[in-house]
């Protein structure tokens, strides 16, 4: 079964594109801004750092809820499109997101009040990054 390099590269490209579509199907136009806003709000709320420990815990918990909501939104869109579960490299990306979320939770729990605006700014930057990154997927439709 002979195959030349051009055919091999073409098949590799086909496989990569199909994998991408299976792992990250195109999104409806409303999903990127919605996720961006949720992520921005999650980080800002997480870094609110009020003096009261209970309010601080509530802020961090609220941040977690908003972050999870963003993930569930993406998962819901994918399920609605008829694709269930994630396999392969895309699954590892999720593990990276969980690590990042854990980092923000720890930072949120120990943040000083003066860091509030830095965290809000970080939230806006992260939210915009999510919006732009997911927007590329929406543009593939």
């Amino acid at each position: 079964m002979a195959m030349d390099a051009d055919d091999a590269r073409r098949d590799l490209d086909e496989a990569r594109i199909s994998y991408e579509l299976g792992a990250r199907p195109p999104l409806p136009g409303w999903a990127p801004p919605a996720c961006g806003v949720l992520v921005a709000a999650a980080i800002a709320l997480d870094g609110l750092a009020p003096e009261s420990i209970w309010l601080r815990l509530a802020g961090v918990a609220g941040g977690i809820v908003l972050g999870v909501a963003a993930l569930l939104l993406l998962q819901g869109v994918r399920t609605q499109q008829g694709v269930r579960g994630v396999r392969g490299p895309a699954r590892k990306e999720r593990a990276g997101l969980v690590t990042m979320a854990a980092f923000f939770v720890i930072v949120g729990l120990g943040a000083a009040e003066s860091m509030r605006y830095i965290m809000a700014g970080l939230g806006v930057v992260a939210g915009l990054a999510v919006w732009v990154a997911l927007g590329r997927r929406a543009a593939r439709r």
Binding site: A2, D4, S18, G88
Partner: protein, 109 residues
């Protein structure tokens, strides 16, 4: 081992390769989603999925969502392994050609 020795005949057509690669990204997928994203007609998808199922590479599950009948497709573990070997073989062919190209370039210098 010669580059490309691990190529699998089941994935030699672009259509079957697309279907398998798409299914490799998920646990299972709706027939219509595969059809839409792989740009295939229902009959072509059905024919190729049947072939993959005969090889033990894919499974077809029929069910209902509410009252609507649905068909779900998934790649079996055997199919995932076979696809991984096939992609490795393709990469070997591409790499071998690139290596030869570099060697030729050096000879000319």
């Amino acid at each position: 081992m010669t580059p490309g020795a691990g190529l699998d005949e089941a994935f030699r057509t672009v259509t079957r390769l697309r279907i398998a690669a798409f299914l490799s990204a998920c646990d299972e997928s709706d027939f219509r989603a595969v059809q839409e994203y792989c740009g295939l007609s229902p009959s072509l998808l059905s024919k190729n999925v049947t072939f993959l199922a005969e090889q033990g590479y894919a499974e077809v599950r029929k069910g209902h969502v509410g009252k609507v009948p649905r068909t779900w497709l998934r790649l079996t573990q055997r199919g995932r392994t076979a696809l991984a070997h096939h992609l490795t073989a393709l990469q070997e062919i591409a790499d071998a050609a690139a290596g030869q190209g570099r060697a030729l370039g050096k000879d000319r210098d």
